[in-house]
Structures are given as C-alpha cells and as structure tokens.
C-alpha cells in the first residue's frame, strides 16, 4: 500500500520510493534494497505498476514506476482495509488517546 500510494501521486524511481517512505514515516519504516526491489518487481508482475527507463540530459538513467488502473483499484481496496483495521484497533485499544 505504501509503495502504491507513493507512485499514485507521480511516477517515482526505486531510490526515491525508499527514501520517501523513510522520510514520511520519520525513520520508523525503512526498506533496504533487498526487500524494496523484489516488492517492486512483484507488483509489476501483478500488473499494479509499470516501470520504464527515463533518461534526461545530465542526469543518470533511472527506472520510474507508475501506477496502473488495476493498481489504483488495489490501492483503494487496501486503503479501505487499513482504515477499518486502524479504527478497529482504535476502538479496542484507544489508539488516538495515547
């Protein structure tokens, strides 16, 4: 869900995705290379994202991932699921008060 959410905003390359997750979670969630890329490849195989090489003058060649319509659908489903999960946790354990 995290990866899908990030690439749904704009196409991003792997390094950026890993960095953004670490930044936005304030270092709570980190992905190392060996777990981030298998995840990306698997999502690509499922057809949720597609990757393409982009080259700009004076910049290195990078592979950008964008979300597909199917990925959007999966993302919406996962957002709903997590929302429900978090609110359930909240009701049981009073997360918001703590």
């Amino acid at each position: 869900m995290l990866v899908l959410a990030l690439v749904s905003e704009t196409p991003r390359h792997g390094y950026e995705i890993g960095k953004l997750i670490t930044e936005r979670s304030k270092g709570t969630i980190t992905f190392n290379m060996a777990s981030l890329y298998p995840l990306l490849y698997r999502m690509e195989r499922h057809g949720w994202i597609t990757g393409e090489w982009r080259e700009r003058p004076k910049e290195r060649r990078r592979r950008f991932y964008r979300i597909t319509p199917e990925g959007e659908h999966v993302l919406a489903g996962q957002r709903g699921l997590w929302r429900g999960f978090v609110s359930a946790l909240d009701q049981v354990a009073g997360l918001k008060e703590s």
Binding site: H13, G14, Y15, G18, K19, N32, M33, A34, Y37, P38, Y41, R42, R45, W53, R60, R61, R62, R63
Partner: protein, 803 residues
C-alpha cells in the same frame, strides 16, 4: 510464476543490475550533497546497500520458483551423468522401456475390458438378478431366470426399478426397400431402457401393454440401423419394417452409440410368459438399485421372489436355492476377468524384476564411484607400501564367497530376480503346454478346404420343418451342381463351436441325460470327412415318413453306453422314439455341458446326437432363435466356395442374406484364440523376465571380475589355472541362480493356481514344466555368468600385477 525464456531473462538481469547500480549511485550522490567526500560516500553507500551484484542474486533468488530451478539444474546434471555412463543408461532405458511398454499394453487392455464404466448413468447401481443352487454335490449360479421368477419380481418391492430382457441377440433378416440385410435383434421388456437410464432420442420405449403376450408388433431401432437403412428418416415413427417377413411398427430410435447389455440393431418387446420359452431359464432381469440402498439391502428385497418362484417350480430336496444380485459390470466383464488378472500378475512380476534390476544397477554405479574415489585416493598410498600378497588374497577370497554388505544386497536382489523369473517361466510353460495340447487334439474331421456360412432362418417364411427342408434340398442341389464343389451339406452348428444341447432318455429308462445335438443333411459326414466307424450315416432315404433314426459319436457310446452296444438302442428324443443306426468319429466342439469325468477344457469331444434334417420337429426349428443352420462346402478354392454359396442361396431365396463366409481353419483358430493370446502375452513377458534376470546376473559377474582383476592376476601368478578360476566365478553366479530357483518354489504355487483355470491337459503343478523352467533358467544363468568370467582367460598375470 511464468517461466521467462533465457533471452528475455538475460536482458531482464542486465536491467535489474543497472537499476541497482543506479540506486547505489543515488545514495552516493546524496552523501556527496551532504558534504561527504566521494570515496567515503561510496564506502557508506556500500555499507547501506551491499554489493549490487550480490544483492541482485539475492533478489533473483527471492523472485524465482526455487523448486523449478533446482529441478532444471538436477535434470541437466542427470543428463550429463547419463551421457558419461552409456552402458548403464542403455540398460536402464531398455529395462524401463520393456516394462513400461508391457505395463501400458496390459493396462490399456484391462482398462477397456474391466475398468471403463458402462455407458449408463450411475452404472454402478445396475445389477442383474442371479440364482444360486447349492447341493451337497456343489453349487452353481447364473443370471438366467424363468418366467415365473420374473413374474414374482414384477410383483415385488423393486418392481418399478426392474426390467426383464433376453441377454442374447438373434440374427434375422430385415427387408428394407426390397433388400434383405442381416441384423441383430434383442428382446427386452417394458422399462428396460428406463432402468438402464438411456431413453430413445426419437419416440418412446415399450409400454407394459406392448410387452404383454399378444401385444402389437412394435420395434425400436438402433441409431446406426436407422441412419444406414432408413437414411436417418426423421419421420420414421409409425413406419413398418419387415422383420422375418412380418411387419413391425417403428416406435423409437435409440441415441447414437448406444449399446445395451449386448450389441443389437433392433429391439422388440419380450412379452414374457411362464410357459414355453418362459418355462425355462431364458430370461434375465436387470435392477437399478434405489439411491442410497446397498446391494445387500436390495438382495434382501429381491431374494424372496426368486426363492419362492424356484420352490414353486420344485427343486430336489437336497438343493437349496438362493437369490442375489450381481453388479452389471461384473457380469459383462466376467469372461475377461481371469485372463486380465493373470496378465496383470505377470506384468507386476516383470515390473518387480525390473525394479530389482535397476536397484542392482544403481548399487553397482554407487559401487563404481566409490571404487573410483578409493582408487584415486589410495593408489599413491598403496604404491608407497609393499604389496602384501597374503592380505590381497584373503581379501579376495572373502569377497568371492561372502563379500561386503553391499554385495550381499546386490546378490539378494539377483536371487529374488531369478526366483520371480522362474515363476513367470513356469506360468508361460504351463500355458504353452495347454496351447500345444489344444492344438494337438484330433479335430475328428478334415478342416482343410471347408468353407462355411451361417444363414438365419428366423423368418416368417421358414416356420416349420417342411419349408426349412425345401430350402436345404434346393440349395444343396444347386451347390452340388456347381463346378469345383465336391461336397456340400447343411448342419445345425459346426465343430469347434457351441452347439445346441438337449436332454434324451433311453427307451425304458426314467432318468434323462444331456447330449450335444446337430441336425444334418445327407452327405454331412462325407463333406466334413468324419469317419463312420459303425453302421451308416444319414441318408436321403431318412424322410419324415420313414423310421426316425439318429447317428451318435464315439463319446456318446463311451459315456452313455458303456455296458451295452449302442447300435440299435432306441432313444426318446425331440418328440419321437429314434433308433441309433450309426457310430461316427468324435469332433471337437465348445462344451455346453460336461459329463462327470470328462476333461474340462475350451474344446471337448462332447457326446453328440446327429439327427437327419428331414426328421426334425418344430421344436428343433424353434431353436433357430439361438442357432442358425450352417451351409458347408468342400470346394477347390475358398473363392469358388464363396461364389457357389452366394449363387445357390440367391437362386432359391433372393431375400435370404448370407452370414460371414468363413474357412473352417479360422473357426478352429477362434476356438482356441484366448489360450493363444494368453500364451503369447505371458510368454513374451516371461522372455522379458528372463532377459532381465540374465542382464542382472551378467552385470554382477562382470562387475566382480573387473573388481577382482588384481586378485585373479595374483592367483594366476601363483599357479592357479585359468580354467579353475573361470569355473569358480561362473559357479558363484550359478549358485545365486540356484538359490533363486529354490526360493521360487515358495512363490510358484500361488502363481500357478492363478493360471489353473485356463489350463488344459496339464496339471497346475506339472513337474515337467517346473523342472524344465528351472533348468532353462539355470542354463541362461550359467551363460550370463560364463561370458564375463571368460575375460579372466585374457588376463596377463604380469600386466595385472604391474598395474
């Protein structure tokens, strides 16, 4: 996961590596932006990310299906290994090919005959009513019932789930558009198709009114007959067909490919009775078990009707009647069950032998690699020490007799292989002797040059002996006038086939006996060249108005007139007192019954009554339902005979179609076809077994010769003669074979009881076959042991010791 082809995979791998390098580079850039010197930035990035190449491999491993990849690696490795050991590979592949081939062939046969479910919905719920008679003399059971039994079933609790039918078809002449063709008719009761679960595609099945005596003449056609003879006429319902010269109205057509309990072209209502045909056990009843009801529960419901009807008919006091149900599949495959079980056992044995062979081969290969590593590892160490002759010999001797544990395993395998091989050889031997015995049975006539054809007289134009005899006389007259035809006759039934059997009584005796019965026209014995040993044959002067006579065969005299001269005795038979005027040689036929003391077999010399065709009564004409008369011609060539038969019949009755024209030799071959097939198949399997056992022994001996080359060299150098060495090695192989032969004695007894039921003229524990098979296997075993042992003769002691 989809398996990516190699060329795409290579590109993908490059892409991934580049992507990971880019990732690392971006990390470095970040550090550099934060003021870290480039070299240090690289170091830190490597610490965080690791080596891109190693990471890529890790990622790849996570992505792949590890199982599939390791499988591919293993297969590649196996192929490489197999290519390095061609001898092993060829032996293994040949062994497997032989066994898989034999297995597949027998399984497909068994599958087609025994296992394929019948083409009816829920066919496992269909069963036939069976009746069993038990007396102190033994028991017999069958699926034939009489009219009274059916009547009782039809009044019982399973009435609406049961139907009566005749489980045989009668050939008849169907006339469509002035053209006669031969077709098969089966008579079935109302509800028969409903019980089977297959209804006509056009029209309907028989109603109870149509299935009652005196009901209308209605018929249901097979899809094939409808398509072939009526051009698939969609308006067939209500049309009439001429069946045996009488009009029958078509009320239905069965679906394409439908086959009931037997193959038929036309079905007509059975119209069961309790007298006449229904007075005897000429019917069968099929039952569809109610859902959820077990066979046993259904038997409990059906048995009272069966037992009640039989008791009412009267059975001797020491005979007990019981009723039961037998699954339809079992009944229809009963004839094939034994041979298939036997073949299955044979194939299983060969499979076992092959497994043993492969296990032995693998042990040997394992041994080879062990030896290789030992040789490479120990030779330098060996060379540094002085060769200890005594220990080498001791080691060698211990191996020649006992050997290591590994060798014992291998020898055990060889022994069991030999034992299994003899089991099969004995079975094959017994079957072969059976076949030879059957082949050497004296036919009792001269089959060469005899051509025959059966013609169905189930026709409204041939209802009485008069019309039948006119046909015989006129057609035979034509045949005898045909150039190239030396003799011609008509008979009810043929040698080597199943013929009618009927009861008779000697004049003045109360108890009846059973005999095979054939009516014959004059010249029958001359046509078949059956020697008349006493009295006379059937003559043209035996006519309806002259004294009724019969001719009997030697078996009749032997079994039924031991103490009294059979000639001149009078028998009450087929509605008349008939005097025995001739005695003829026995011919072989398929038995319809056995007299106590007769040798049981697929063909026998049965006590037979021949009566003149001119003196038959209407009762005998009535048996044309089961047995058609057969025209036989002795002619210069089969072609002449066939043409003569066709022309002669056509000239007398153009609407009478001929059955299959067969040479008597073919009739004879088909009588022993099952034995011949079994002998061939089991014989082939036994040969495979023998071959495998020989391969195993050969492998063992040649391996041990190779292994013990050094020992033999030393022995020869010390003065042992090559001959004695070869003998010792060969004997060790033969000892194994001999142990196997002894072991087999334990296995052979249950195995030969499996073939016992198809044996003829040879005891199931026939010592000659047993000894023959054992000797044969020992000879093969000694050759298999001797061939590799002969290599010792070529050994040069000096070279061997130097090496």
């Amino acid at each position: 996961m989809a398996w990516t082809p190699w060329f795409l995979r290579a590109r993908r791998d490059r892409d991934r590596e580049e992507e990971l390098r880019a990732h690392l580079a971006m990390h470095v850039d970040d550090f550099v932006v934060r003021g870290v010197p480039p070299a240090e930035a690289w170091r830190r990035a490597r610490v965080v990310c690791g080596n891109p190449r190693v990471k890529r491999e890790e990622i790849d491993d996570m992505q792949r299906l590890p199982l599939l990849d390791s499988l591919v690696r293993d297969v590649r490795y196996a192929v490489r290994v197999l290519r390095r050991t061609p001898g092993f590979t060829v032996t293994t592949v040949a062994t497997l090919a032989l066994v898989i081939g034999a297995n597949a062939a027998v399984f497909s046969l068994a599958n087609a005959l025994l296992l394929t479910p019948l083409p009816f919905p829920d066919a496992d719920r269909l069963a036939l009513v069976s009746v069993e008679y038990t007396s102190p003399r033994g028991s017999s059971s069958g699926q034939s019932i009489d009219g009274a039994t059916w009547e009782a079933i039809a009044k019982g609790p399973l009435a609406n789930r049961a139907a009566v039918f005749t489980n045989w078809t009668a050939g008849f002449n169907l006339v469509v558009n002035q053209q006669a063709r031969f077709a098969d008719q089966q008579r079935v009761g109302a509800g028969f198709f409903r019980v089977l679960g297959v209804m006509p595609v056009i029209g309907r099945e028989f109603s109870p009114e149509e299935d009652a005596v005196g009901g209308p003449a209605v018929a249901i056609l097979s899809h094939a007959l409808w398509a072939r003879s009526f051009d698939a006429d969609p308006n067939i319902l209500g049309k009439t067909i001429l069946l045996r010269g009488e009009p029958w109205q078509v009320i239905g057509v069965m679906p394409d490919g439908f086959r009931g309990t037997t193959t038929a072209d036309v079905w007509t209502p059975l119209q069961p009775t309790t007298t006449g045909e229904g007075g005897g056990t000429n019917y069968a009843a099929i039952v569809r078990l109610p859902p959820g009801q077990s066979l046993l529960a259904a038997v409990a419901e059906i048995a009272p009707a069966v037992v009640g009807a039989a008791s009412a008919a009267g059975v001797p006091p020491d005979v007990t009647v019981s009723g039961g149900l037998v699954p339809l599949q079992d009944v229809l495959s009963a004839d094939n069950r034994e041979p298939i079980t036997m073949l299955g056992a044979a194939v299983l044995t060969v499979l076992l032998i092959a497994c043993v062979n492969l296990a032995a081969l693998l042990l040997w290969c394992g041994g080879l690699s062990l030896l290789t590593s030992l040789a490479f590892g120990l030779v330098p160490a060996w060379q540094s020490t002085r060769l200890n002759v005594q220990s080498a010999l001791v080691e060698g001797r211990s191996r020649s007799i006992a050997g290591s544990a590994r060798h014992w395993t291998r020898r055990g395998l060889i022994v069991s292989q030999v034992a299994l091989g003899v089991v099969l050889l004995v079975s094959a031997g017994l079957l072969m002797r059976t076949f030879v015995n059957l082949q050497s049975l004296e036919p009792g006539f001269n089959p060469a040059g005899l051509t025959t054809t059966a013609i169905s007289l189930l026709d409204a134009r041939y209802p009485t002996p008069v019309e039948v005899n006119v046909l015989f006389d006129q057609s035979l007259e034509r045949l005898r006038g045909t150039p190239g035809v030396s003799a011609a006759a008509v008979s009810l039934g043929l040698p080597y086939e199943r013929v009618l059997n009927m009861g008779f009584k000697y004049q003045g005796e109360d108890s009846g006996r059973n005999a095979s019965v054939m009516y014959v026209t004059p010249d029958f014995f001359r046509t078949f060249e059956i020697p008349v040993t006493r009295g006379r044959e059937v003559l043209a002067s035996d006519v309806p108005t002259s004294r009724p006579v019969v001719v009997v065969n030697e078996s009749f005299a032997r079994w039924y007139s031991k103490d009294e001269d059979v000639m001149g005795r009078v028998i009450a038979f087929a509605g008349a007192e008939r005097v025995i005027v001739g005695l003829v040689n026995d011919v072989q036929m398929r038995p319809g019954f056995f007299v106590d003391g007769m040798v049981r077999g697929p063909i026998v010399a049965s006590p037979t009554i021949y009566l003149p065709a001119a003196q038959i009564n209407e009762g005998i004409v009535g048996t044309h339902i089961w047995f058609p008369p057969v025209w036989s011609v002795r002619a210069s060539s089969p072609a002449v005979a066939a043409q003569a038969l066709e022309q002669a019949i056509a000239s007398v009755d153009a609407l009478l179609p001929l059955g299959q024209i067969r040479q008597m030799a073919a009739v004879r071959a088909s009588a022993t076809a099952e034995q011949s097939m079994l002998m061939t198949l089991v014989g082939a399997l036994a040969l495979v077994a023998l071959l495998l056992a020989a391969i195993g022994l050969h492998g063992l001996i040649s391996h041990s010769v190779a292994e013990r080359t050094r020992e033999f060299g030393i022995r020869l150098a010390l003065g042992a003669t090559p001959g004695s060495t070869v003998r010792a090695v060969t004997l060790s192989g033969m000892t194994l074979a001999a142990i196997g032969v002894v072991l087999w004695a334990l296995l052979a007894i249950p195995a030969s009881s499996l073939v016992a039921s198809v044996l003829y003229g040879v005891a199931e524990h026939d010592p000659l076959t047993y000894i023959g098979a054992a000797v044969f296997l020992l000879v093969v075993a000694s050759i298999a042991s001797l061939l590799p042992a002969l290599r010792i003769l070529r050994l040069d002691p000096a070279t061997t010791l130097r090496n």
